[in-house]
Symmetry: C2
Subunit: 339 residues, 2 copies
Amino acid sequence: MPETARRIVLASRPVGEPKPSDFRLEEFPVPQPGPGQLLLQTKWLSLDPYMRGRMSDAPSYAKPVGIGEVMEGGTVGEVVASNNDSYKPGEVVLAHTGWQTHALSNGAGLRKLDPRVAPVSTALGVLGMPGMTAYTGLLEIGKPQASETVVVSAASGAVGSVVGQIAKIKGARAVGIAGGPDKCRYVKDELGFDECVDHRAADFPDKLKAACPKGTDVYFENVGVPVFDAVLPLFNPFARIPVCGLIAQYNATELPPGPNRLPLLMRNVLTKRLLIRGFIVTDFAAKFPDFIRDMPQWIKDGRIKYREDIAEGLENAPQTFIGLLKGKNFGKQLVRIAE
Amino acid sequence: MPETARRIVLASRPVGEPKPSDFRLEEFPVPQPGPGQLLLQTKWLSLDPYMRGRMSDAPSYAKPVGIGEVMEGGTVGEVVASNNDSYKPGEVVLAHTGWQTHALSNGAGLRKLDPRVAPVSTALGVLGMPGMTAYTGLLEIGKPQASETVVVSAASGAVGSVVGQIAKIKGARAVGIAGGPDKCRYVKDELGFDECVDHRAADFPDKLKAACPKGTDVYFENVGVPVFDAVLPLFNPFARIPVCGLIAQYNATELPPGPNRLPLLMRNVLTKRLLIRGFIVTDFAAKFPDFIRDMPQWIKDGRIKYREDIAEGLENAPQTFIGLLKGKNFGKQLVRIAE
C-alpha cells in the first residue's frame, strides 16, 4: 500500500468550458480506517457529463462540490483494509468516493461486485448508472412501441448507445445522432441502430429527416440545442421526450441569440400533444430490480453491446473530463486509477 | 320559422390578428330535413380560442376550416323539424354546427339537454368542453396535491376559472393570472382563488413571485409567452405543466426577438425534472363520466362558480371573436343566436 494518496479537488468554479486550472491535484496521507470503517483503493473512476453541473453553484437537483473539495464521482474500489465485519480485504465494490486514489467508508451505499459475472468496470457503465439511466428514461418516459421511431442523441455514448439498443429490443426503429463518421459507423454497424446521422454534417437536419421517414415518436435528449432544433419539426402527435442531459449547453455562459424559439416549442407541445419530462436516474430507483434482471441477460444474449474509453491515471482525469464535454470520448469514459 | 338562414364563413386566412374581412356573412335558404335528418335552429354559439387555429392552415391536431366553409364551433340548438325518431321538435341539444342559424343533422354526436337541470348555455361552458378541459388537464396531468401551489393563466376565462376552483377543492393553493384589476378582483373575491396577479402590471414577475411563496407545483398554461417567462423561475422540482392553450401567441406571424430562451426552458426541465404535456379535451374522453358526476354536484354545492359573457346576434360573432383573442371577454364567451 502506498504511503501517499492523491486526489483532485475543485480549485475554482469554471466560467464556460472548464480549464485545467479549475482542478488541483493534491497529495495526502493514506487514511487509516477507524472502528467500523474500511479503506478503499480506487481502481476505476467514472467520468460523466453531470459532473459539469456539480462544478457550478447554479441551482440544480444536487448540491455543488465545494471549492477545495474532492470532485464527486462513481468509482469501483478494492477493500485494502477493513474494520467492518461486512467487508474483507480483496473484495471489490461499487462506490461513490470521487476523484481520489483512496477513501474511507463505513459501508453505507456500497455494492459488492463479482468479477466472475462481468468486468467490474461495467458497474460504472452498461450495468450501472448510465445503463440504468437509459433503461428507465426510455421505458418509463419514452415508452417506445413496436414500429415507432426512437431518436437518441449522443448515440455512441454510455447512455445513448443503450437507449437505441433497448429500442431495437422493443421492436422500434432506432435512429442515432452522433459526432463524426467513426461514431456513426460504430452506432449503425456495431450497435445495430437502423440509422445514425452525423450532427456535424452541413445538411444534418435534412439527413435526420430522411432517416425518420415516419417522423419521430420518442426523442431521448442527451445534448440540447442546437441538435434539438433539427428534431423538433419531426415529432409525431403524442411523441415523448425524456430529457436526460444537455451536454451541448453545459458550458454556455449566456443564452444564444434570437429569435426566441421557446414559443415555437410550446406551439409544438400543444398542437402535437408532446410530453417533455426531465429525470435523473434516482427518480426511478424502484426499477433497479427490473434493470438488473434484464440488462445482464441482454448482454449475455449479445443484444446489448458496449464500448469503454479508458484514460490512464488520476492525473489525466481533468483533461479527459474537459474532452468528454466536447465529445472527444468514444464510448463510456473511464479512468483507470490502479491496476 | 324564418325563410332565410344565415351563416358566417371563412373568407380568407388571417395573417396575424383576424380582421372582420376574414369573415363573410351569407344568407341561404333554411334547409329541409331529408329522411332520418333533423333541422336545428341555433340558440347559442360558443366562441373559443382554438378557433384561431382552425382559421390557419398551419399543421395542427385538426384540419382547418376551408375558405368559404362555415366557421366551426360548438352550439346549443333546438330541434325545429325532424324526420329522426330519436329527436322531437322542441328538444334542445348540444351540437357542433358552427357559426350559423340553422343546420341539418342526422343525430350523430348530439347530446340532449334538460333545461330543468342547468341553463342550456352551460353545456358550452362549465358543463361542457371548457369545463371538461379544465377538469381533465388539471387532474390527469397537473395532479395537484393538498398544499401544493397551482398557478393558472387566463384565470377569469372559461377554462382557467374552473382550474383554480378545482385546485381549491383538492386542497391546493390557487394563484390566478388575469388581465386587469376587474378580472383579478373577480378571480380572488368571487371565485375564491388565494391570489390573482395582473399580467399587465409593470412589476408582474415580482408580484407573481410574491403570490407563490412556496414556488409553483402546477402551472396550467393557457396563454404562452410572455406570461410563461414569469412563471418559469418559480417551478419547484417535479412541477407539472399541462399545456392547454397559447392565446397570446396565436396571432403571432414570426418568432419574438432573442435571446433564444428554449435552452433555458430545457435546462429547467432537466434540473427540476419538469413535466410539460400538451393536450386537448378529447384525449381524455374516457373521463367524461367522472366529469359529469363531479361538476354538476360542485356547482350545486356552490364550490364552482361561473360567469358568461354574452354577445347578441350572429352578425356580431366575428368582432366578438377578434376581441376574445385580445382578452376583451370576461368569462365564458357566448353568442346568443336566437331567443
